[in-house]
């Protein structure tokens, strides 16, 4: 890890970094929220890809590209296996958006499937993490939240 990444993100950032966490499992949502809050992040959770897109202003019925030229969130962390829209499909939609494509996206999964991992990384995911997440996993995200260069 880059030596420039310190622990107190709120101080570095001025404002707390805002993370959108997407997971269809209630317990996992609660867990990831706590992990992120313990790292001084503001957290919004969504229970599926569609809700996430709605929150981000990317839902298909809204064509207002000018509605927020600055993204509301600094990081998106999403589960891979979700009903309706997978985390991969969500990732693609985010990368297609001119407003949101720069937002780092992290994919989580309980399954270690190499083809799945490379597919996500190729599509532009910043990182792939195995569930269940631990505090040390969230520490690895600090660089993206402070925009450190490695």
């Amino acid at each position: 890890m880059d030596g420039g990444c310190s622990g107190d993100m709120a101080a570095e950032f001025g404002d707390e970094p805002h993370v959108l966490a997407v997971d269809d499992n209630l317990i996992d949502r609660k867990l990831v929220e706590k992990l992120l809050k313990n790292s001084s992040c503001k957290v919004t959770t969504a229970e599926n890809g569609l809700r996430a897109l709605e929150y981000l202003g990317l839902a298909s019925d809204k064509r207002n590209a000018l509605d927020g030229t600055v993204s509301k969130v600094n990081l998106i962390i999403t589960d891979y296996c979700m009903p309706g829209m997978t985390g991969y499909e969500l990732l693609k939609k985010i990368k297609e958006s001119s407003v949101l494509r720069e937002v780092p996206v992290v994919i989580m999964s309980s399954e270690n499937v190499p083809t799945r991992i490379s597919q996500c990384l190729q599509e532009g995911a910043q990182m792939f993490m195995l569930k269940p997440l631990k505090q040390s996993d969230v520490k690895r995200l600090e660089c993206y939240l402070m925009r450190c260069r490695s």
Partner: protein, 149 residues
């Protein structure tokens, strides 16, 4: 029973839960997430797990009772249960879920029914044990003590 005895009893009880495979490292992680801002975090998450698991077990029962079993649907529920049990460290429940998913893939109804029984059993065991542990913790707190971690 005095405070020190209660605390010792709690430590021994927790240790046995880990040794017998009811809980794994992930439960420790969960406890480490708890702080003064959220002193009930573990109890809250575990309670959510209980509610969610009971819902899933009911759904699984219904799904396996159908004339024509929808294995995709069964698998989806087991996947959820596997995920939550893994996230709170309920290792024995998680292990049965892994076997359960294999039977779903094989579309083996007998195997699925057997696994459902097993997972109900393991769930019920870990629920009882966690509730006992929480009760013990509460006794310690009520006696003015702190929870040994």
């Amino acid at each position: 029973m005095d405070l020190v005895q209660l605390q010792r009893q709690l430590v021994d009880y927790k240790t046995s839960l880990y040794n017998e495979g009811f809980l794994d490292e992930q439960f420790t992680q969960l406890q480490e997430l708890q702080d003064e801002n959220n002193p009930d975090f573990v109890v809250e998450v575990v309670s959510l797990f209980f509610e969610d698991s009971e819902r899933l077990l009911n759904e699984l029962t219904k799904a396996l009772e159908q004339q024509s079993v929808d294995f995709k649907r069964v698998d989806a529920h087991v996947h959820q249960l596997k995920g939550s049990s893994s996230s709170i460290g309920a290792q024995r429940v998680q292990k049965v879920c892994i076997a359960f998913r294999n039977y779903c893939e094989e579309q083996n109804i007998e195997g699925c029914v057997k696994c459902l029984q097993q997972v109900r059993h393991e769930y019920s065991l870990v629920k009882t044990k966690l509730e006992s542990m929480f009760q013990l913790q509460q006794q310690i707190l009520s006696a003015g003590g702190s929870i040994p971690m």
